[in-house]
Subunit: 364 residues, 2 copies
């Protein structure tokens, strides 16, 4: 039997595959309208090169194999952003900054995780390479929201975080064990935070709906060391108006360990987990220096459900002249030709039938 697929892999059948492709095209079109041009890196690369740019466990979760041509180990990408960073740092190194790139491609993981058992995912996104300013973040967040709206998503929520918050505060609010404090803040463990560095305790309460959380963060920041970040957050959010729901969780670092000053998670109505995330980060250049970047990535699987797909199919009765079919297709119809006398519009899931040169609705 060949019907069984491995856990975490699946077939997408009609009409869902067309709907998913349409959603993806709309996301990329929204990105393109902001000047983000598509790049398409290969599915597989040399493992050492790819691994050097991967965050979050590197190649541990990647399919690897020996290349019979080079005798070197290759890996199937478990994530696309590392490849976009490579392209920006190598083949587009001499392109003036910022460079705006978009991408859409499949990624493969050896194992799924508890939240998402999928092992093949369609990853889409935008990277703005060369800047991590407030203006850069404002643009990237706007593109993400435009893309989600273009995908038909509703109830968009963005949850912001400040991934390097503890490092920023440590000079003015000394703490003996920074790593332990980060962990306790990640765990939202007020008792643990109080025991390690009570001055940080108000940060746990500075999470929730955006305006209130930002106010609490501002009240907490008596030294003013967070002033530029607080102003930046307010500025980014200002660009969004009332298009999205906003929350702030300034100490949230899970999955943002490699972001610099800003991180955000994207949620939409109807999806059971986040549909994407983004933030500011560093790209390693080939000369060993680093440059700043800002971007977001979406997992298309979370978006598919929000697409509605109307299926209008015009049945061409047996022996309909080819030119008649061509005429109806040119007028925008999807035609389904009977290739045998016994074929029926019902069997071919048609909504209309060509009758004396006119598309007549079926079952009407």
């Amino acid at each position: 039997m060949t019907a069984l697929l491995p856990e975490g892999f699946r077939d997408t059948l009609p009409p869902f595959a067309d709907a998913a492709a349409a959603v993806e095209a709309r996301v990329l079109a929204a990105a393109a309208s902001h000047g983000y041009e598509r790049t398409d890196p290969p599915l597989a690369e040399f493992a050492d090169g790819l691994g050097s740019r991967l965050k979050d466990g590197g190649l541990r979760n990647a399919v690897r194999f020996v290349d019979p041509v080079s005798q070197r180990t290759m890996a199937i990408r478990p994530d696309l952003t590392a490849q976009i960073a490579r392209i920006a740092a190598t083949r587009m190194a001499h392109h003036p900054r910022p460079v705006r790139l978009s991408y859409a491609g499949s990624v493969l993981k050896l194992r799924g995780d508890a939240l998402n058992p999928s092992r093949e995912m369609r990853q889409l996104g935008c990277e703005l390479i060369g800047l991590d300013s407030i203006a850069a973040a404002r643009e990237v967040v706007t593109v993400a929201v435009d893309a989600l709206e273009a995908a038909g998503a509703t109830g968009i929520t963005i949850d912001f975080t400040l991934p390097d918050l503890v490092d920023t505060l440590a000079p003015v609010l000394p703490v003996a064990d920074v790593d332990a404090l980060r962990e306790r803040l990640d765990a939202k463990d007020a008792g643990g935070v109080a025991a390690l560095a009570p001055a940080y305790l108000p940060l746990i309460a500075a999470a929730g709906p955006f305006p209130q959380a930002l106010e609490r963060l501002q009240a907490f920041d008596t030294t003013g060391i967070l002033a530029s970040r607080i102003a930046g957050l307010a500025d980014i959010v200002d660009a969004l108006g009332d298009r999205v729901q906003l929350t702030l969780d300034p100490t949230e670092r899970h999955g943002f360990e490699y972001q610099t000053w800003l991180g955000f998670s994207l949620f939409v109505a109807g999806a059971t987990r986040e549909v994407g995330r983004g933030g500011t980060y560093r790209v390693m250049r080939e000369d060993g220096a680093e440059e700043m970047a800002t971007g977001f990535t979406l997992y298309a699987d979370g978006l598919g459900g929000s697409a509605s797909h109307e299926r209008r199919r015009l049945f061409l009765p047996y022996a309909t002249p080819a030119a008649e079919g061509a005429r109806m297709r040119a007028a925008g119809w999807v035609t389904v030709a009977a290739l045998e006398p016994g074929d029926t519009p019902e069997a071919q899931l048609c909504t209309h039938i060509l009758d004396a040169g006119v598309a007549r609705p079926l079952g009407a």
Copy 2:
């Protein structure tokens, strides 16, 4: 250094990746207009299941790995059509025939070949499952030509072949060693054919531009055993009018070993090798029976070059209000915002600049 990619793998950069995606979308839209709906099988499957449906060397050229979840061997698909056949035979087994499916996806090969060193390719196509009649072939060839034209291809040439020709003729033109005869015909070795079965010799001359080759085949067919095929070829070609160049090479079997009565190769101007192929074939059902099918597959890499891509980019000077940019995007513009005072339209490859609310061409 992370810049080096393995042989046969490459990055597609702006503006070529957007152009390739547009070509792919147009091919799929042409297929969709004939009722072919997209299916999207996974990149990887269990190796034994996938291998049982693969022609042409099976998994020999596929990346394989052990699935840590099931402890079974999995393979990355080296070809997509085997998966479409699986879907038709399993998950869509109860769908009335014919089933019309399209697909577009990446395939991976361990080794390239002499004609094409690429090891990752983008494969697109259509399969009509349940029929291999002349009407089916006529539709599939028409869809292929519509798809190539939609992709912007010119100089389309179709080379037809009759893959099971020798098997069909053997009952009326007996030959001792059928395999040896097939080989000599494949090699266009007139001396070898003459030595084995001189009656088959005229077939070598029955190759070339379509009408003449078909006439020669008809003259050769004194028993009339090929009459239905000859009539079928004429009928298929009739549907194409003068949209394409046509050739016939009735004994050509290379790469068509698994086709049944009809095979064809697709060529376009500017491509150095065939851009696709198709024909009639058998699909194995889960109950062990077979059903007939007709389809074609395209390799998108051969098509990309024929796409022209106009790049119009509107520069939004620093501090342009967000609403101004949104207004220009809504009017169809690609906008590129200056995020720093020093950014320039030239650096951002812009063709226009927003000037007092109006898009003004640059360098004009």
